[in-house]
Amino acid sequence: MNFENRIENFAITILNHRIKVVFSAIILIMLISSGIRFLETPSGYRGFVQDDFKYYQDILELEEKYGNIDVLTYVIKPDKGDIFQKDVLKLINELTEASWQTPYSSRVSSITNHQFTEVNGDDISIDNFIINFDELTEENLSNLRELAKKEDSIVNFVMSESTNVGLININLEMPEDIAFKKPIDFAWNQKMIFEKKYPDIFVGVAGSAQFSHNFQSVAEADASKMYPGFLLLIIILTYLLLRSVMSSLIALLVIIFSILPSLGSAGWFGFEAQPPLIAAPIIILTISLAHAIHMLSIALTNMNEGMSKNDAIIDSLKINFTPIFLTSFTTGVGIAGLNFGDIPAYSEMANTVAVGAAFGFILSVTLLPALFSLLPIKSNYKESTMLFFLKKLASLIYKFKERFVIITSLICIYVFSLLPNLYFDDYFGSYFDRVPEWVEVKDIVDPEFGSSFFTFADIETNEPNGITNPEYLNKLDEFENWLVQQESVADVSTVSDVVKNLHKNMNGGLEEYYKIPDNKALIAQYFLMYEFSVPYGMDLKNQMTADKSSSRMLIRTNYSTAIETVAFNKEVNSWIENNLKPFKTKGVAGIPIMMPHLFTENTNGLLLGLLFSFSFIILVVGLSLRSLRYGIISVIPNVVPFILGFGILTLFTDMVTASHQVAVLISIGLVVDATIHFLSKYQKAISMKLEADEAIQYCFKYVGYPIIIASICLFSGFIFLTQSLFFNNFVIGGMCAIIIIIALLIDLLLLPALLLIFGKKA
């Protein structure tokens, strides 16, 4: 019994047990889908890295010694003037006080509660920097402005150098596995209250806590805004393409039943609902949609030509079984290449799509024919105009086949010459550039402060009380002076600043004493005094260890690209190696260091993944066509769309990010499908002893229309993905859409010409 007969028997069995098939499919799907409730809320940037990622481990080690690094920041900017206005300071003060109520907060710092030391001989008074808000005169305000500009720990930390923007930094001590929702909700509520009370002053929410929360809020917003619209689009699209309400319903069921259990499986696997996962249902949807359209369009055509409903669907299954299987298989394998990357969120998305592709295939060959046979379906299917157009196209290609190949080759060579301009990089500062609330705050913070992120360095002495050693503090100073000269660094704060300030204040406030004293005991006693004089939440515990063997540097960093960050990190490490002895550090750590490194390493992994997916898919295509010749021919239409796609990218940017690579891995499996469909039909035509031009006509008749429809579905799916608030999803959607459209053009124009020239003749 040959393969086609087996498929036929399989189809007949399905139709004989159609009710059982429908019910058991529905029950199984419901069971698996119930795992959706286990989908975990995204844990922000922390869920974006693997636990054992070196740069994340650095952060964890730092947190173990000095407490959690996450900061929730309020950004305060008056519409007119700087922050030294009575109302603005009052707002900052009130919001600072209210911020102690923030869930999980451990300390709050702002310009108003900054601990300021006033010296009067041997009387030292330490108090909030600004008090008696109602009695502030213009003169007081300008005095305060001048004083603030001189305080190291104010400028660039709670106030911009221009004095135009004030910040309130709230350190959060988040318990493990708790999302930032509570503190963020609290902060947004405060923002609303204070903007209402002070309508001329802008209050924004930023910091690593908001950044982290964006992952969750963006995923939620995308899911609730994108999905319903997309489903509607699909219903309209399937109806327009199939002209049958029942057929559209079947397509819709198959699509939904492919998506739900794959999300359910994601839940059973314990995946997080990170923004990349949002793309998974859309990709699954487009694949299943393409499957359904292939199956239904041929069945409907068959009915038009007089076949009975059951015979029509059996025949369609015979024609489509292998191509549908290959589509699901190549898509799954292609996207599985993402597992070579270093970002769990993308691997989880890929694996969810792979599962979805499997469901799509299984349902298209079981549930779909069963439903088709059960439901009352009439065929109004007409493809005459399209077919006429395709016939014209086929003869046109036959006539000008050499020109098609030459013109396409020339275009490819030109575009190829553009590709060397491309370079791999990433810019984590752009992740949420499509979230208006985030951008509004970012546009205020970034020009004034560089970014709202901090980087840290843990500098160790390896002996208790070692940090009171003047040699150590001078070394910190040296390191700080070197750091502030680096482009990536906006400002640095160290415990040596604290000591210098204390030394000055203990010596009558004279500027000449703003230096590190040359006496270890004196420094130790200064620290002791300082520890005694600051209130709750103002101590140095987040800057030094209890045994005073090491201290933490705080570095305000500018946004940098991955390449810049890696270079900066290298320079820091080499400075450390050459200059820091005898003291030790593991180098700088923090979100601005981790994220870029994550993408650098991810890029390397994805390149390996690309290699894997490409070679595997080409192998599969060659094997399925059982021909080396067609295998080689298939490489051209499968590779050219990517070359052209990246050529088009150079019109916008030369930076190839991880998102572009992800787009390649997603689309490779989809691009290959059309080629497989076309080539397998061509082989069949040749085996039917058709002449070359007739063979092309045959291909166009049987697969031209489905390929066009499938491509339209995929294209609109990816265009929809560009509506995502997550910048990376936007890039992936756009890139995939471009590649899919190019692939369609190549399959319709170049591939037939190639077959006419290089293919076997009857």
């Binding site: 869930p103 451990s106 041997d122 030292i124 330490i126 009380n465 005991a521 004196l522 130790a524 209130p535």
Partner: protein, 261 residues
């Protein structure tokens, strides 16, 4: 004996005064508890402070202290603290004139600077030498610093205890609420502290109670567990002696000055 009579009085008074509100009852227990610890006149002791981080690493600090009881019902005691370790701070002395609901007066003698500095700050809520103990915790039993509320009774380590809620009066306090257990001998056994956002911050356990001068129970160990940052501090009193004949002259700024000369 005096103690027992006191307890009896309280027991009887609580039984008699049914009309007493829970605020009054709480206040009365707190007041009696505070007063049962008074009458030491003056005191000297050595103290050991052990800081423990979440990984279990320990750091020990040694200090010794003198204190003088203030009989003025509207003012606090006077204390002098001598810092002995780490070696670099050896010889540093702090004099405090504590006040009930205002900032304390503090003078600090730094030997490396050979000068006395007067420090004024609202630091009562701040950490004591980087520990989990705040300045205000040392006078945790002073009934005048809080508003009180009697909640009920609860068995703790085999002893029936009063459950008292208290709310700080000092405006710069680091706390919003405390829930404490005071046993029938009027000894504070355990207090839960709630931070400014009303969340459980830390628990202080008073242990190792010894009877001094045959009349005053004093805890010679205080263990603090911070529930938020998972750090702990153990405070131990050694060589505690009461009524050794100190007077006001020993607690004046000039006594620090003498060290400075």
């Amino acid at each position: 004996m005096k103690k027992i009579i006191l307890v009896l009085i309280i027991l009887i008074s609580t039984k008699l005064s049914i009309a007493e509100s829970s605020e009054e009852k709480g206040y009365n227990i707190a007041k009696s508890s505070y007063e049962s610890g008074r009458g030491f006149t003056d005191m000297i002791s050595d103290q050991l402070m052990i800081l423990i981080d979440p990984k279990g690493n320990q750091v020990t600090r040694e200090i010794s202290a003198k204190s003088l009881e203030n009989l003025d019902p509207y003012d606090g005691d006077k204390t002098i603290t001598y810092f002995e370790t780490p070696k670099d701070v050896e010889g540093t002395v702090m004099l405090s004139h504590t006040h009930i609901n205002e900032d304390d007066d503090q003078w600090l003698y730094l030997p490396a600077l050979t000068r006395v500095k007067r420090i004024s700050s609202s630091n009562k809520s701040g950490s004591f030498m980087g520990s989990e103990v705040a300045f205000e915790d040392f006078s945790a039993g002073d009934y005048r610093k809080y508003k009180w509320k009697y909640i009920g009774e609860e068995v703790y380590e085999g002893d029936l205890c009063y459950v008292l809620e208290s709310y700080p009066i000092y405006e710069n306090s680091g706390y919003t609420k405390r829930v404490g257990l005071t046993d029938k001998l009027l000894r504070a056994r355990k207090i839960d502290f709630y931070d400014r956002k009303g969340e459980l911050l830390k628990t202080v356990f008073f242990e190792d109670y010894n009877l001094y001068g045959d009349k005053i129970w004093m805890a010679d160990s205080m263990k603090v567990e911070n529930h938020q940052n998972k750090n702990a501090t153990i405070f131990q009193w050694q060589n505690r002696k009461l009524n050794v004949g100190l007077d006001n002259k020993d607690f004046e700024k000039s006594s620090l000055m003498r060290l400075a000369d």
